[in-house]
């Protein structure tokens, strides 16, 4: 087993790994950028080192610097978390060359699955159905598009995470879309190559969690429903999915296990699928790392994916086999992000003035937020993950509603009120979701008359009190947020999003 693990990440996932290390009796090493000097993952770790300035490319993406710090700290393994360098084969390679274990699959697998076109070929050859579309880009994109038929999805070969992606409905839109997608892909991945897939709708986005050790043991840990996405970013996930019956679940898990065995997979990984209305599965891509949404799988299987991935990276045998896996109850995850749902999900920066996290039965919070935290523009907007488990889906939803109401953040805007609206939406409650769900379900700013009146009363009481004993309150941080109100709660949307590079 490892003695010391460097966590090459930040935020809630860095803290998640630090916690797993502590429970395994492994010393943890945090790295932090200038912006993260006070971060929770730093305060929880056994050791901490400044990795560089705030921009990610100078800190959390700086491979030589991270390897240098791992060496200095005497770490014998590196955990990459998700995002940043987690799917960068050069990083996995650099770790290997430095004699430091990379907690993830071998570089060759990361590389072959990182090429999305290559991954499609591999899966196709393994007999896994893939989304109809290109397999080899021998022809021009125009010819391929004509062959596949509109609407189509343009995707970056080196892609992932919704970057360099465009849906094209008509042939005349193709050239402009290609140009934009190429530019995005080039800047995001240094590779402008694109390929095409048939655009399927309505579909659900499902994925299968896998874990594999170095001895050929592969276990599929059920599926996750990830259809609720905003601009290709997942927002709410659950396990299991209402889309599958037991037979389909078994079929999908067997399919995913087979794929993992064919490619000789090791460590944790996820196979993403689209499922159409007729229950057909289509392989979409493979993520060769821990996923943000891994806790819903942990909740319904009783596994600990971070502990277990550290174990298998240390060449230990998987402590369970496929037969040991039971799906018990239902789990839902809401990603709590610093964005204003009532102002077209504008990113929200500022200081966290008040924080109350939910608790009690069936509630898990994986959070990097703290009172006094400066939420900056440097990194993505994920602050915390709220995961609720129930004996059945209805109980999990009821619990999530309760927990969302208990989750209190003042000082920045979060998407908590919108999550609550989804949890109360009859379509969601009925399990009728697909990847276009969030295009139809828009946040509605509901003013609660009782609360408005209470605010007015409190203001008067405070003014009266102030004459007796003046109190010094903190100054508001982001007054401009009220702007949304006057713009008609989302009717006027001067801001459009695209995944930045």
């Amino acid at each position: 087993m490892f003695r010391k693990v460097l966590v090459a990440n930040r935020g809630e996932i860095a803290l998640r790994v630090v916690r797993a290390c502590r429970e395994l009796g492994i010393r943890s090493v945090a790295i932090y950028s200038e912006a993260d000097r006070n971060a929770l993952h730093v305060r929880h770790a056994d050791e901490a080192y400044l990795v560089g300035p705030s921009p990610a490319r100078e800190s959390y993406l700086n491979i030589p610097r991270i390897i240098e710090l791992a060496r200095r700290a005497g770490a014998d393994a590196i955990h990459p978390g998700y995002g940043f360098l987690s799917e960068n084969p050069d990083f996995a390679q650099a770790c290997e060359e430095a004699g430091i274990a990379f907690i993830g699959p071998p570089p060759s697998i990361i590389r072959s699955m990182g090429n999305k076109l290559r991954a499609r070929q591999v899966m196709k050859e393994a007999g896994i159905p893939v989304v109809p579309g290109s397999l080899h880009m021998e022809h021009s994109l125009e010819e391929e598009a004509k062959r596949i038929g509109f609407p189509i999805m343009l995707k970056a070969v080196a892609g992932g995470g919704g970057k360099g992606m465009r849906t094209v409905f008509r042939p005349e839109e193709l050239p402009a879309a290609v140009e934009m997608a190429r530019r995005e892909a080039a800047s995001a991945f240094g590779d402008e190559a694109l390929y095409l897939e048939k655009f399927l709708e309505p579909v659900r986005h499902l994925e299968v969690q896998l874990i594999a050790d170095a001895y050929g043991n592969v276990v599929a840990l059920g599926e996750r429903e990830c259809s609720i996405q905003r601009r290709h970013q997942k927002m709410i996930e659950e396990a299991p999915s209402t889309a599958l019956d037991e037979r389909q679940r078994m079929e999908l898990m067997a399919l995913a296990s087979r794929a993992a065995k064919v490619i000789g997979y090791q460590n944790v990984g996820t196979l993403e699928f689209l499922v159409d209305g007729d229950g057909h599965f289509y392989f979409l891509e493979m993520n060769t790392r821990l996923q943000v949404e891994h806790p819903v799988t942990e909740a319904v299987t009783g596994t600990d994916l971070v502990m277990d991935q550290i174990l298998v990276a240390a060449k230990e045998r998987l402590p369970y086999s496929q037969e040991d896996i039971r799906i018990t109850g239902w789990a839902i995850e809401c990603r709590i992000a610093a964005e204003d749902p009532f102002n077209v999900f504008l990113p929200s920066t500022g200081t966290v003035l008040r924080l109350d996290l939910p608790g009690g039965p069936g509630v898990r919070v994986d959070s990097a937020i703290y009172e006094g935290m400066e939420v900056t523009h440097h990194y993505d907007s994920l602050l915390a993950k709220l995961v609720c488990w129930g004996r059945h889906r209805k109980e999990a939803i009821a619990r999530m509603r309760r927990a969302l109401r208990e989750f209190k953040v003042v000082g920045i805007s979060t998407n908590i009120p919108f999550h609550l609206q989804v949890m109360e939406d009859p379509h969601f409650v009925a399990g009728r979701v697909d990847t276009s769900y969030l295009e139809r379900k828009r946040p509605v700013r509901i003013s609660v008359e009782e609360e408005e009146e209470a605010a007015v009363i409190l203001a008067a009481l405070l003014a009266r009190e102030a004459r007796v004993r003046p109190l010094a309150f903190p100054l508001p941080t982001s007054r401009w947020r009220l702007r949304a109100q006057r713009f008609g709660y989302g009717l006027w949307e001067p801001w459009r999003w695209a995944r930045s590079t």
Binding site: P347, T349, L353, K408, F473, L475, S478, S500
Partner: protein, 174 residues
């Protein structure tokens, strides 16, 4: 019987009359109705528990000139307060992203902190409502700033690669 205050919330102005009932309990008259209100300070100075007719609510209070910003539930309310003897509070002045600085002239300020990654509206260029003026990167998302009104670009105050803060002037149209 009680003391009278005038409170402004958005476009609405309320008259609030407060009488003390002892033990941290108040009788409050508002909009022709009487409420029994308990106010407690939970932690110094910002968190309050307010019980209106036995319904408990948490309120987080921040100071602002002439009043308070109060967060209850998922909403943050900006309120101005005055003793009734001093008359109605002035209208709320909110920061606008599009500030009218003359007849048909607008100053556009940034609604977020981030980095300018692209400027599509050059000085002298005539733009239409809905056109993308510039792109600001924040939290790994590219946010396209679109024109709320059309006009000619008089001045651009920022350049590509520059860090901008909330409320910082970006350009002037007119």
């Amino acid at each position: 019987m009680g003391e009278k205050y005038v409170v402004r919330l958005g476009q609405d102005v309320y008259q609030v009359e407060i009488g003390e009932a002892g033990g941290g309990i108040f009788r409050v008259f508002i909009e022709g109705k009487e409420h029994t209100v308990r106010m407690e300070q939970v932690s110094a100075p910002s968190l309050f528990l307010l019980e209106v007719d036995s319904r408990p609510l948490e309120a987080f209070v921040e100071g602002r000139a002439g009043g308070y910003e109060i967060t209850i539930g998922f909403h943050r309310y900006a309120l101005l307060v005055r003793d009734v003897a001093r008359g109605r509070p002035p209208p709320l002045v909110e920061r606008e992203d599009w500030q009218q600085v003359g007849e048909g002239e607008w100053l556009v300020v940034s609604p977020m902190s981030g980095v300018v990654v692209e400027i599509r509206a050059g000085k002298g260029q005539v733009i239409q409502q809905g056109d993308v003026l510039m792109v600001i990167e924040s939290m790994k998302m590219n946010n396209e700033l679109r024109a709320k009104f059309g006009g000619a670009v008089r001045e651009v105050y920022v350049e590509v690669g520059q860090r901008v803060e909330v409320g910082q002037a970006l350009l002037r149209l007119g």
